[in-house]
Amino acid sequence: MASLRSFLQCNFDILRKTFVILFVNVRDALNQAMDEELERDERVFLLGEEVAQYDGAYKVSRGLWKKYGDKRIIDTPITEMGFAGIAVGAAFAGLRPICEFMTWNFSMQAIDQVINSAAKTYYMSAGFQTVPIVFRGPNGSSAGVAAQHSQCFAAWYGHCPGLKVVSPWNSEDARGLLKAAIRDDNPVVFLENEMMYGVPFELSEEMMHKDFVIPIGKAKVERQGTHITLVSHSRCVGFCLDAAAVLAKEGVECEVVNLRTIRPLDVDTIEASVMKTGNLVTVEGGWPQYGVGAEICARIMEGPAFNYLDAPAVRVTGVDIPMPYAKILEDHSVPQIKDIIFSVKKVLNM
């Protein structure tokens, strides 16, 4: 068994070095990030429903229990408020918990612990008590899971000082941001996306390094452009890039900004882009009212980039309804690529 493993490892290394890039899906990126951080720091542990013996409800923690055992990978009963509180208390006392919510919808059962016990404590204690915890799980719409299982919480958690809120799009984001979140001494809300788990992306050798971290609070320009800025997070970043490819054929070059972090928001990168292109469309899966796009537009209004706008900034969002079940209805509840293209053309008066 050991020799088979080393044989595979040896050849894997050769393959890796030969082909400098690797295709890793988001699920595996998250899995590897957690594995490496568990190995790196004894104080890191994972708890949540089905994370251990079931290998994770969405298989994100596959293999971790087998490797690290009961002490570090803990299956909890279905009691979010209780186990989220336990996770925060463990963070108070010096451990570095990763608390998984099976989906962020269930975090509403525990939201008091996330906000009042985790987010506010460093401030209330005037810097005496740190809370180095990561809350993670899939956020936003999935496929056919209906209203109670499809809400996006980026705006809710992004509202609160004391939290960091992160929303990765691809495998590079997932890996680098999760490592950064685990190493961060502050409470981090880590919003994954179930539909992205199975999507493969290229990861360079540099990205596969065990100390590869992406700074929290910094957006990334995924695509350079000159005519209009598209700002997005999570799965919608991919839609923006798809829309940009279609629009490029008509001579419209979109700059696509991947927020990566919801809070603290990287206003500088957004402003710099808007000052360059003069036009802004935000794209998100969540509801429009009091959402991420609303915040971005307000900040642009209040800052230097306003003077560079050639047209009002607009938002593309999920439809302002609870998520329906039937496929045709669900498809029309979320922003589609055609909605992005339509909005760009409207803003550019095409």
Partner: protein
């Protein structure tokens, strides 16, 4: 029901002027899922007696001073006073060590003291000054010190937090435990039952303590709980119901509970029957849902400080003058602290946005207007 002061069984003689230690009968503890409970007697040394007396008196006078400062509007917001319940905080600390951990709810001034805070920094926090234990950022309900996790404002939330601390104790392989306190009002919270379950499943070294002072704000226990036998509410968790007005009872029960935890048996639950003289908070006169006669009866028959004082005096463990001297010293300490708390300056405005994130370089925080750019330091 209330009880009379316990009687002496044995005392040992020595050459010193005062009796160095004496053994007292203490009230029998009601047991749930336990074959044996704490001992029926408690041996008190003169040294410990004086220490408990001083600490309880300090809490008492500190709380009364807070009452005064609140009425003068020097303390504002919420202020939940602990006078009457002193034997709980002091007795618990007598049964554990400072390397153990403790968390409680918002009636926390007494615990902040027993866990190592000073009267000065507690009072300065109540008055919202820069030398307050939380630099004026927390207030009455959010005081922290080593191995003391507050001071928590949301009823019941502290209980799972305490179990998390206990999990860390077990995970890190220390011999430490966590005491997690809640009141009779909080005892019906769902998250507490969730915590009972996980603490038992994982055998966490946690002592759950229900401070039953008979009233959850304005609601008596009979009106809030289908079962008022709080020591049994942990169901599969062994429980003790203890006289919370007797510091020795509390101490012996805590020692018993601590042994249980440290031997790896998992959680245990203590109900301390106690009483608060003040209303729920300074906004509550405390007499609309209970009679003045009831309050007066507890004061005259069960006051924790009087009980200890009577025991010590009637066993020649201290003199009247000596205890009076302690009273004077305590009074002075409180006066000095109050003076300090009233004159210490308020926190600097530069501190407004600090302590958002730990170990982070400084960053800009939006003020009340887009032009107000403030800075946050870790």
């Amino acid at each position: 029901c209330r009880h009379e002061a316990a009687s002496v069984v044995v005392s040992s003689r020595s050459y010193a002027d005062f009796t160095p230690e004496a053994t007292f009968d203490i009230k029998k503890v009601d047991l749930h899922r336990l074959e044996e409970g704490p001992p029926l007697t408690s041996t008190l040394t003169r040294e410990d007696g004086l220490k408990y007396y001083r600490t309880m008196q300090t809490i008492r006078r500190m709380e009364l001073k807070a009452d005064q400062l609140y009425k003068q509007k020097i303390i504002r917001g919420f202020c939940h006073l602990y006078d009457g319940q002193e034997a709980c905080a002091v007795g618990i600390e007598g049964g554990i060590t400072l390397s153990d951990h403790l968390i409680t709810a918002y009636r926390a001034h007494g615990y902040t003291l027993t866990r190592g805070g000073t009267v000065r920094e507690i009072m300065a926090e109540l008055t919202g000054r820069r030398e307050g234990i939380a630099k004026g950022k927390g207030g009455s309900m959010h005081m922290y010190t080593k191995n003391f996790y507050g001071g928590n404002g949301i009823v019941g939330a502290q209980v799972p937090l305490g179990a998390g601390v206990a999990l860390a104790c077990k995970y890190l392989g220390t011999d430490q435990l966590c005491v997690s306190l809640y009141g009779d009002g909080a005892a019906n919270q769902g998250q507490i039952f969730e915590t009972y379950n996980m603490a038992s499943l994982w055998k966490l070294p946690i002592i759950f303590i229900c401070e039953n002072n008979q009233y959850g704000m304005g609601t008596s226990v009979e009106r809030a709980s289908a079962s008022t036998e709080y020591y049994k509410r942990g169901d599969f968790i062994p429980g003790l119901r203890v006289d919370g007005m007797d510091v020795l009872c509390v101490r012996e029960a805590t020692k018993f509970a601590a042994d249980h935890c440290r031997s790896g048996k998992g959680p245990i639950l203590m109900e301390l029957q106690t009483y608060r003289y003040h209303g729920h908070s300074m906004s509550d006169p405390g007499v609309s849902y209970r009679t003045r006669e009831e309050i007066q009866e507890v004061r005259s028959k069960s006051d924790p400080i009087s009980m200890l004082k009577d025991r010590m005096l009637s066993n020649n463990m201290a003199s009247v003058e000596e205890l009076k001297e302690i009273d004077i010293e305590v009074r002075k300490e409180i006066e000095d602290a109050a003076q300090f708390a009233t004159t210490d300056p308020e926190p600097p405005l530069d501190d407004l946005c600090s302590h958002i994130y730990a170990n982070e370089k400084s960053f800009e925080v939006r003020g009340a207007t887009p032009w107000t750019k403030l800075t946050s330091h870790s």
